[in-house]
Every structure is written in C-alpha cells, then in structure tokens.
C-alpha cells in the first residue's frame, strides 16, 4: 500500500527528474548492463555504449514512462496498458529483469539525490517501482 504522502513524494521526485530524464535513464541502464550483463541480450540490436544516442533516447523513454505513471499511481493499470501489451507480446522481456532494473534506478536516484534520498523516499520509491513492475508483467500470461 502506498500512502497519500508517499504518492505525493514519488510524483514530486519524478517531476523534478523529468528535465534530466536522458541522464537518469541512461545512467540506470548502464548500471544494469554493468551489474547484470545478461540484460544486454535484449538490446543486441542497439548501440548501448555510454553516451550513445540509442542509450540516451531509450533511457529517456523509460524515465518519462515512470514519471507519467507517478502522476496518478492509482491509475497505473490504465496508464500502462499500452506498455503492458508491448512488453508481453512484442518485447517479451523476462519480468525478472524488472527487479534488476528497479534496483539500478534506486542506485541512480541515490547517487543523484545524495542525502535527499532518505529512507522514507527510498521506501516509497521501492514500493512504486515494484507496483510499476507488477502492472507491467500482468499481461504476460
């Protein structure tokens, strides 16, 4: 359960990150590729080297989707409907990877926000990313 205060905090954090979506998203992806090399298999058709345009545009896309979902968390199943279909039927990414990526996003936020990434923000974000991943995996089977 995500409280009202937590929802506000999550929305606030993602809103502040929207202008730097490319940086945040590509950093989180690079962290995932470095820590969990198996995840690179899904990007074999792209150039995922640091600073590449593919990496930056894909990172931005992901962060903007997460930020958009954060605007109204109670409506995640509605706002993520197109992404559910995309992941389940086209991309077919093993949903285990969502957990790995979530952890990398948390590290990115900790590096970016420093002391402002308090235990309260950490807990709220962990819950939100779990909920986001769960909704994204709903259509798989």
């Amino acid at each position: 359960m995500i409280s009202k205060r937590e929802k506000e905090l999550i929305a606030e954090i993602w809103e502040s990150l929207t202008p730097v979506a490319e940086d945040i998203g590509s950093d989180a992806l690079l962290r995932m590729f470095a820590s969990f090399p198996g995840t690179k298999t899904y990007f074999s058709h792209l150039d995922i080297s640091p600073g590449s345009s593919h990496l930056r545009s894909h990172g931005k896309k992901i962060v903007l989707a997460i930020a958009e979902g954060a605007k109204d968390i109670s409506q995640l199943t509605v706002s993520l409907a197109p992404l559910q279909t995309l992941h389940a039927y086209q991309l077919r990414i093993d949903p285990t990877n969502f957990k790995l990526f979530s952890q990398c996003i948390l590290v990115t936020l900790a590096c970016h926000m420093g002391e402002d990434f308090t235990p309260i923000a950490h807990a709220a974000m962990d819950k939100y990313l779990s909920a986001f991943a769960a909704v994204l995996a709903e259509k798989y089977r």
């Binding site: 820590s35 948390l106 900790a110 590096c111 926000m113 807990a123």
Partner: protein, 147 residues
C-alpha cells in the same frame, strides 16, 4: 569461490575506505527496517522500531548497524576466503537466530543505496557492478550454512 582481479580488489577497497562505519552502519540497518518492515521480526528485543522516527532514533538499531558493518569489513580483509570468514556467523543466523537468508540480500541492497547516497558520482556503473559482486559473495557466504 570468487576469483578477484586486481582492479576489482582495488575498487572494493577504495569504496570501503570511504565508508565511515559509525555513520553508514546505523543508516543501513535503519533503511532495511524502514524499506522492508517485515525484517522487524528479528529485532524483538530492540524496543520500539515500528515507525520511521522510532527506527531512526533507536540506539540499539544504530549500535547494531555498526556491528553489522564491522563484520562486513572482515570480508574486505579476507576476500579470498569470504565463505570461511562467515561460516560460523551463517550457522548462527540459521540455527539460533532463524533469519531468512533472503534478508541478507535486502541488507546488501540497502548497503549499496547508503553508499551511493554518500559516494554519489564516485559510485559509477562499473564501481557499482564490482561492489555488488562483492556483496553477492558476502550474501552467498552468509547463506552457506543453511541446509
């Protein structure tokens, strides 16, 4: 057993050198209790740990956080025998304390986040990957005496 390259050894030592046990230790355990509240079950003797404020102000949480990070320091010093280093501690957590070994992974994730808040850009993707490889070896060692 994990084989470490010289680069990995120096990276892990460099991260560890920047960790102030008295500062990061209490933060790490507080984070575990706040982000994963079901871990409260292992700390029944700590008094009130049931709100964020209570966790952050609980002296037993702070003290135990330091103990935990001091133990982690032993792995940094014994990188070629992490499993042996933690054999008795793993046994204690299984047989006496009955701690779900998945808790060690939750703790490791919170250690990385606390370190990231402190090191910021110094914990770049490669450093993070090496640091997590090290923590995974510790988690595995802490889980090794469960049977």
């Amino acid at each position: 057993m994990v084989k470490w390259t010289d680069k990995e050894r120096s990276t892990i030592n460099a991260v560890w050198d920047k960790v102030d046990i008295d500062e990061i230790g209490p933060q790490v355990l507080a984070r575990v209790l706040i982000v994963y509240p079901w871990t409260e079950r292992y700390f029944g003797s700590f008094g009130d740990i049931f709100t964020v404020t209570a966790v952050l102000n609980n002296p037993k949480v702070a003290a135990h956080g330091k103990v935990v990070l001091k133990e982690l320091g032993k792995a940094v010093k014994n990188m070629d025998n992490i499993k042996g280093t933690y054999a008795s501690l793993s046994q204690l957590h299984n047989e006496k304390l009955h701690v779900d070994p998945d808790s060690f992974r939750l703790l490791a994730d919170c250690i990385t986040i606390s370190v990231a808040c402190k090191l910021r850009s110094a914990l770049d993707p490669q450093v993070q990957a090496t640091w997590q490889k090290f923590l995974s070896a510790v988690v595995e060692a802490m889980s090794s005496q469960y049977y």
